[in-house]
């Protein structure tokens, strides 16, 4: 009786081992191509038009449906890490600090003065915003700005987790983007410049 039970248990174990082995084999195959690094964009990624500067639904006349532009690098870990490198290289940290805000607004909270959509962040970086944000479109290429957009979105976990950074190259001043809880973006309650 016990022997039959043992045989059954052994078969279950054997099946489990086989399943695990197959699963592992499949895993090794999937690991071959996690993502493609896109070193250059040809033709260059289109920059959002002026309509992207619209940050409010309030407007005269019928509602204009704004085409939503997907951030080209939101799910690309390498591009997000390049964005992170640019964030420090271009001294974004000088005002926004490591995303916590200081001279400029915080980038890791749920409040967005000019919107959290990719094209809105692109417009904020490229065109600049009142009260101190410079326009970067002459100083950075479109591809670089898109990388920055995806990094800024990763600061409040708005992009897929797999693409967010797991650690810093230097001393950690905050939890890595990969373990930041996702926020629900909302418009800022205070207008810019009032705080």
């Amino acid at each position: 009786m016990s022997s039959r039970f043992e045989r059954g248990a052994w078969r279950v174990r054997r099946d489990a081992t086989r399943t695990t082995r197959h699963a592992l084999l499949l895993l090794t195959l999937t690991a071959c191509e996690r993502e493609n690094r896109r070193f250059s964009e040809n033709p260059p990624t289109a920059a959002p038009t002026a309509s992207a500067l619209v940050v409010s639904q309030l407007q005269p006349g019928p509602a204009v449906v704004e085409p939503k532009i997907e951030a080209p690098y939101d799910d690309n870990a390498w591009a997000v890490s390049e964005g992170k490198a640019l964030f420090n290289a271009m001294n974004c940290s000088g005002c926004h600090f490591q995303g916590g805000g200081g001279i400029g607004p915080a980038l890791m909270d749920e409040e967005w003065i000019y919107g959290s959509d990719p094209q809105q962040i692109f417009a904020s970086i490229a065109e600049g915003r009142p009260n101190g944000m410079p326009a970067w479109k002459y100083k950075l290429g479109t591809q670089q700005i898109w990388e920055l957009v995806s990094y800024v979105r990763s600061l409040s976990s708005l992009n897929p987790k797999g693409a967010r950074g797991g650690r810093d190259d230097h001393m950690m001043v905050k939890p890595p983007e990969a373990s930041t809880p996702q926020t629900k973006p909302k418009m800022a309650s205070t207008p810019p410049g009032d705080d």
Partner: protein, 335 residues
């Protein structure tokens, strides 16, 4: 016969060149080379002797009888005593040979670590994937920041301090000095000592990412007088453009993306992400030894660096044809 001689010829030909450990260009590397050849020759002789002995042992006819193979009482006979003597002698010879090389090796090591009290100090900072070079002067206003080319005077030791900005790189001028790692957060140092003027090629010798292979550094050894002249010239600010197209190019450089990463001494371009371009037109190569510095290569590098060196920090620049021409005109005036 012809084949053999051509192989010999190519083997000898590979013993010289700008990037060759077997073609020493200075005292430290020469002493390393002597050690190398001494070890190689002695090891080759020993190896040959061992091979001959092994062949002799394998091929010589057995002279033993059946009784010799199965001794009933193990009494050392004359032959066994001789064998013990031979083995002891050879073990002793091995120990003595290794000890001699140990002492020789220490002497060479000490000669390399020699620290002259006064010497020119150069800082080499590794970046992914290029070299930043600082020529230190006691007078801070004379600090010279250069990139992707190392100039040293002949006939005196030059201290090179090695740092890294990002990952571990390794500094290696095969003709002049062996490798030393550039480690983030740590300064290591070595002495370059070259005999005579010449142009050599250094290469990053520690895998540091995608473009590790395209991280080379031309090393130019000047005579002392030439070096002083070069230093004075290199400390001068960026040349002012004279013709109209170069003047327009300067505007493109300053208003566009170039100046966010590149610096020009004496001009409002302070970027430190990429190499300093104050004297770009005098450099032999661009992109850290990747391409010869020609007008065509420069244009290709500005417009599409990612197909020349994929992954490099330099982005592709979409410039209007006129702007690009003016920009290259300007860069070519930066002698």
């Amino acid at each position: 016969m012809g084949v053999a001689s051509s192989i010999m010829g190519s083997a000898l030909a590979s013993c010289s060149g700008p990037q060759n450990v077997l073609d020493p260009a200075g005292p430290p590397n020469r002493s390393i080379n002597h050690l190398f050849w001494a070890m190689l020759v002695v090891a080759a002789i020993i190896w040959a002797a061992v091979v001959v002995a092994a062949l002799w042992a394998a091929l010589s006819r057995r002279r033993r009888t059946r009784e010799d193979l199965e001794p009933i009482v193990d009494v050392p006979n004359e032959e066994q005593r001789r064998h013990v003597g031979i083995v002891t002698g050879l073990v002793g010879a091995t120990v003595v040979t290794l000890l001699i090389f140990l002492v020789y090796d220490f002497t060479v090591g000490r000669a390399l670590a020699e620290r002259p009290s006064r010497s020119l100090t150069i800082e080499v900072i590794g970046h992914q994937w290029w070299w930043e070079v600082h020529y230190i002067d006691p007078d801070p206003s004379k600090l010279l920041v250069d990139a992707n080319e190392l100039h040293i005077p002949a006939g005196e030791p030059v201290q090179v301090k090695l740092k890294s900005q990002d990952v571990i790189h390794s500094f290696w001028v095969p003709n002049i000095i062996g490798k030393r790692d550039l480690i983030p957060g740590y300064t290591s140092s070595l002495f370059l000592h070259a005999d005579k003027p010449g142009v050599y090629r250094a290469q990053c010798a520690e895998f540091c990412g995608l473009e590790h292979a395209k991280m080379a550094l031309p090393v130019i050894v000047h005579s002392r007088a030439d070096f002083a002249a070069w230093l004075a010239e290199a400390r001068s600010p960026a040349a002012e453009p004279n013709d109209s197209s170069a003047k327009e190019g300067k505007k493109v450089f300053l208003a566009g993306a170039c100046s966010s990463c590149h610096a020009l001494t004496g001009v409002e371009a302070y970027g430190t992400i990429g190499p300093n371009l104050t004297h770009i037109a005098s450099r032999r190569t661009i992109a850290a030894g990747t391409l010869p510095n020609t007008r065509g290569n420069l244009g290709g590098w500005i417009v599409d660096p990612q197909s020349i060196k994929p992954g490099a920090r330099m982005p592709s620049n979409q410039l209007a044809a006129k702007d690009l021409r003016n920009l290259i005109d300007y860069l070519e005036t930066l002698k």
